[in-house]
């Protein structure tokens, strides 16, 4: 993904930090031009929506590194657009649109992509996914609260469950590898992970409905 970027990319680890620093830059407010103010506002909004955009891109791509490259590219294009003076009515929707095109380009470049061959079906799917995320455009802060609730739910899990999730989601190991590491069958690990996801999802909903 990174090789196709036009404006060069920021290293993966420092991207969010760089953006945060940029968004919070107020050293010489009087010297700041109107253009840089607009760009700073765009960066702040981008950071606020970062988790949601990450879920959209990561959910479609199912590849964390490729997703991070897409998000960086979206920011570069957004910055270029804002610098040109374009006024974006709905920045999150605009970012999702750009991300969607980059994802399609990525899928087309992949020779072994297992994405559905029927482009009409894929188009409907992408439209539905976009609609699902657009429904929360007005309540982007809900994602922050959701993240906090999930942090609490994960912290309350028994050590054994956390280790299982950690191997799968932090270590990004395949279910086969996880099964080998914990000495259980593939089916047992699949079921355990499914139940854990379900339990975490229920826990988050409970915390959000009864804060």
């Amino acid at each position: 993904m990174g090789d196709e970027q036009e404006g060069g990319s920021v290293p993966r680890e420092s991207f969010t930090n760089t953006l945060s620093t940029f968004a919070g830059f107020k050293e010489h407010p009087l010297e700041m031009s109107r253009e840089s103010e607009v760009l700073q506002r765009a960066a702040a909004a981008f950071i606020r929506d970062r988790n949601r955009l990450g879920a959209f891109v990561g959910g479609l791509l199912r590849d964390a590194h490729a997703a991070e490259d897409v998000i960086q590219e979206v920011w570069l294009r957004l910055a270029a657009e804002v610098e040109k003076g374009t006024v974006l009515d709905n920045q999150p929707a605009w970012c999702r649109g750009v991300a969607k095109n980059l994802i399609l380009k990525h899928w087309r470049k992949q020779r072994n992509a297992k994405v559905v061959a029927d482009s009409a079906v894929l188009e409907v799917f992408l439209a539905r996914v976009d609609e699902a995320f657009a429904e929360t455009d007005e309540s982007a802060d809900l994602w922050e609260r959701r993240q906090q609730a999930l942090d609490e739910c994960v912290a309350a899990l028994p050590e054994k469950s956390r280790r299982l999730l950690s191997l799968r989601y932090e270590g990004r190991e395949s279910v086969e590898n996880v099964a080998g590491r914990v000495g259980q069958s593939f089916d047992a690990v699949t079921k355990a992970l499914y139940r854990l996801r379900q339990a975490l999802s229920d826990c988050v909903e409970r915390k959000l409905s009864h804060p």
């Binding site: 799917f125 739910c153 994960v154």
Partner: protein
Amino acid sequence: MNDDLPELLRRFREDELAPEDWLRLNDLLDRPEGREALRHDWFLEAALPQSLAATSVAVRIPRPSFAEQLRAWFSLPRTEEPTLAVLQMWSRASFAALTIGLFGATWAVWTPRETFDTEPDPAFIAQLILQNQLPDAP
């Protein structure tokens, strides 16, 4: 929400969707509850690594060293009540002074010292006198 959806989303994640599954998935996503389920599922997928990392960091936070605990203990007390603060400072200062005093006293009593006789040895004095009176060698 239809029970098929979590399974279809799982298959999508694992790249295991058959062509008929795609159609079924699109049908389910046509409904608001289906789209909500997709949001929740993808949120979990994206947010879990962060939450797990945050939990690992919280578990791995080291206990403060003894020196840090001691420094914190001797630092100014954080209380809103001025009388209580003064009392705490006074008690800590007294404790510190008492400790230093005890150490000092122990050192003074137990440390071995070189002693000097007030009465010089007469033989030694005689030898000194004799050395001074003899001419230089040879």
